[in-house]
């Protein structure tokens, strides 16, 4: 644990140091380059806002109306039959849609069942092993103005589903005792 937390504390400052050192050795105008690149960040964030706002509002309407829970209830028996524990179903539906909501559900599962329970370990693994597909697609395609996204969403969601299944298999295998 100590090593891991050490690494995660040191890594960013080390990257910053490395980049700046090399730039200074090469006699680059570091500060001016930083400002120049940083300015791009402002326009990027501004152009991103409507994409994200639209998507987040729509997803939140869906969730807060209870339609999301109804959908989860609908799928729960089917998913239970193929071996997906029903406690984990809400998390698996939320994970691709909303990162913050998924994190809240994971925290709640860990709190309720305990971090060292099967559900706790499974939720932890699932949270770490897939990402918020909708957010990534919205941000990346939105930022550069891609209108036709091809198979990206389909493949992304298939990957999420595979992530859930592999998490269940691996957690059951590793922590089987």
């Amino acid at each position: 644990m100590n090593v891991i937390s050490m690494v995660s504390i040191w890594i960013i400052p080390s990257i910053v140091l490395l980049i700046l050192l090399i730039a200074v050795i090469k006699k680059l105008p570091t500060y001016e380059l930083f400002v120049e690149g940083g300015k791009e960040g402002i326009s990027m964030a501004v152009s991103l806002l409507p994409y994200l706002l639209g998507m987040i509002v729509s997803i939140t309407i869906f969730r807060s109306s209870g339609a999301m829970d109804a959908l989860i209830d609908l799928f729960q028996p089917v998913l239970h039959r193929i071996g997906i524990p029903s406690e984990i179903v809400p998390l698996s539906f939320t994970r691709p849609l909303s990162g913050t909501a998924a994190l809240a559900i994971t925290a709640d599962l860990i709190k309720t069942f305990g971090p060292d329970s099967f559900i706790g370990r499974l939720a932890s693994t699932m949270q770490g092993s897939t990402d918020t597909t909708f957010y990534i697609i919205t941000v990346y395609f939105g930022a550069v103005g891609i209108k036709k996204m091809g198979d990206a969403l389909k493949v992304g969601l298939i990957a999420d589903f595979v992530g859930i299944i592999t998490s269940i298999i691996i957690v059951s295998m590793v922590f089987s005792n």
Binding site: I11, I19, G41, F62, P115, G128, A152, V155, A159
Partner: protein, 196 residues
Amino acid sequence: MVNYIWAGLAIIGIIYAMFNGTMEEVNQALFSSAQEAVTLVLGLVSVLIFWLGLMRIAEKAGILSVLAKVFKPFITKLFPEIPKDHPAMGYILSNFIANLFGLGNAATPMGIKAMEEMKKISQSNRASRSMITFLVINTSSLTLIPTTVIAIRIQYESSAPTEIVGTTIIATLLTTIVAIIVDRIFHFRRERKIRR
């Protein structure tokens, strides 16, 4: 497709609320979530400015192209459309590396830059093959150390907060491999359709 999904989520939500007495929640959600999105982007602004500023230095210092060269054999197989020494490669790699170390904050700006560069190659508003591959790898998540989850586990007094690192890495790895394979299958299906 995104248009249908977007409108569909909201339409289903509002109609569902009509019949289930949750209109008040929906009404509240409309405004609180819009606010939430602004807060999210504001939080992103600082990160974007910092990392894009730093990456500009890294790019000019030639660090990105060195990075692209080192991982070239591996990455050219994944992205056959991208010319070998194109800056897109450097950004793609920086994004992967940032993701691997759990620096989600730094990964996003580099990912956007990578997309920009890939758009310069494709010159179209349609998602190119490399863009889809790049996105799919990102959505399947590349994590070595799931820091947030470990923090939550510590908070709830796990006896071994890091015991899930191994399972997470294996799950991530398998998911990413499957994602790449599925992406390839979809790509060749598209190609066949065009040829017909």
